[in-house]
Symmetry: C2
Subunit: 256 residues, 2 copies
DNA sequence: CCGTCATAG
DNA sequence: CCTATGACG
């Protein structure tokens, strides 16, 4: 059991006075699956408590698990939910290091699954660096590729039009295939993928691996795996990232 | 009603003494549809008689229509069938201009639809230019993309390994999407697409258009269209092609 | 939230 | 030989 994307950043050399690091975790905690939801959520709590990330992006929290995690972390983190029924995204920012100024939702109007974009306007407290945080759980399943590509384009558009003061981080469960990125014309100018900019290390590639995670069982001879969970970055000042392969264990997220 | 791909070539300038032109037609004549099969096949006959192509690639001939067309054109064309049951491909080469030396089939072993590759070893009579002609009707339907891509790769391989004396033309109903070409890594080095090398004229793009051809009716609000029919070329001497938009009318092939 | 297949529109 | 949906492995 592990979050699917865990990264750390350091500030660019133009702000050398305090090489501040930020730790980011993105994690689909499989709220669509009721099985062991209590113990799995306790496991999530344990990882967050150990890792002490500055920023957390969740997908598939449910009302119960959001209340639980907010109950645990309310003193140390701002906890923001992207919905209040079914399953939805959430974001947590560590009060000690990141100042939350505002947050809002951008709906995906043609989503059949109630998906949206959760956006937080924040600031790195120590340096004053403005940070726009975005997370989403894009339309699931291969057959919804067309809707998903539209959602991804809208998210990229949101990154591009953000105030130029912001370093923008868009991370989450994008359910996206590499071929779909090609089909929408690749990443827009100025936006980079954290897996790629950290050297495309093979051990960090798969974030959803049906051979390593039995949370969802499909009776296939050859198991499927994808890089569904990603983080895209429009950087202004924060730019050195490191991807942690141990916490990129294939959505290991879902299962305890 | 029109063939989907009609092209003419002229010899490269290195053989200037006789700027020989060749006319090629590729045409899926919709033998999977029994409706009006007789009158539609007579329509095919009429177009071939008018256009007098040097080379014809057919897909979806059936035993009856092959016998009919061979009966009509046997004196002026070599008529080769790629099968003898159900529906299959066929090729015709005009005896007056193209010499047929041999022909053979390459099976697609994992085809669920009995598809294969029909290959003719020929020679342009006037110039002696060796010409390898290949046609196929690659696996149909969107969901068979994986099988179809394998078939296409095998066909490209066949083009690449052909004796270097040959100019190779592979034309037919490839049922292929542009994205699938990208997924197999694009056209191999040395192979070019006749639509592209003739300037990618938009009026020649769609060869299967459900809005312009009611042979197959689907109750969709927005009709689909694709460039299913293509011709790929590994040229040695023949290299100047012209695509005829009037005969590229969207598989108009199928319907009279 | 996989890949494959069948069916309806 | 389209797209959308749902069942099944
Ligand atoms: Mg899930
Ligand atoms: Mg057909």
């Amino acid at each position: 059991m592990n979050p699917s994307t865990s990264t750390e950043s350091s500030a660019a050399s133009s702000v050398p006075e305090q090489p501040k690091r930020l730790k980011l975790i993105s994690w689909n905690i499989d709220g669509r699956n009721a099985e062991n939801i209590k113990s799995r959520t306790e496991g999530v709590q344990g990882v967050i408590a150990n890792e002490k990330p500055d920023i957390v992006f969740f997908q598939e929290v449910i009302p119960w698990s959001f209340a639980y995690l907010k109950g645990v972390f309310d003193e140390t983190y701002e906890c923001i939910a992207g919905g209040d029924a079914g399953y939805f995204t959430a974001a947590m920012v560590k009060k000690a290091t990141v100042k939350l100024h505002d947050f809002y939702l951008q709906p995906f109007y043609s989503s059949k699954m109630g998906r949206n974009l959760l956006i937080l306007q924040t600031e790195v407290t120590s340096s004053g660096i403005p940070l726009l945080l975005m997370t989403s759980h894009l339309e699931s399943s291969n057959v919804e590729g067309s809707e998903r590509k539209n959602q991804l384009k809208k998210a990229f558009e949101e990154m591009k039009v953000a105030d130029s003061k912001y370093t923008v981080i868009f991370g989450g469960d994008m359910n996206v295939r590499d071929s779909e990125i090609v089909q929408i014309g690749g990443l827009p100018e100025g936006i980079s993928d954290l897996y790629e900019v950290t050297g495309s290390r093979p051990e960090c590639y798969y974030t959803w691996d049906n051979a390593r995670n039995d949370n969802l069982y499909f009776p296939q001879r050859v198991k499927s795996r994808f890089r569904f969970d990603r983080a895209e970055n429009r950087y202004v000042l924060l730019c050195h990232w490191r991807l942690d392969p141990d916490t990129v264990l294939a959505h290991l997220t879902n299962h305890e």
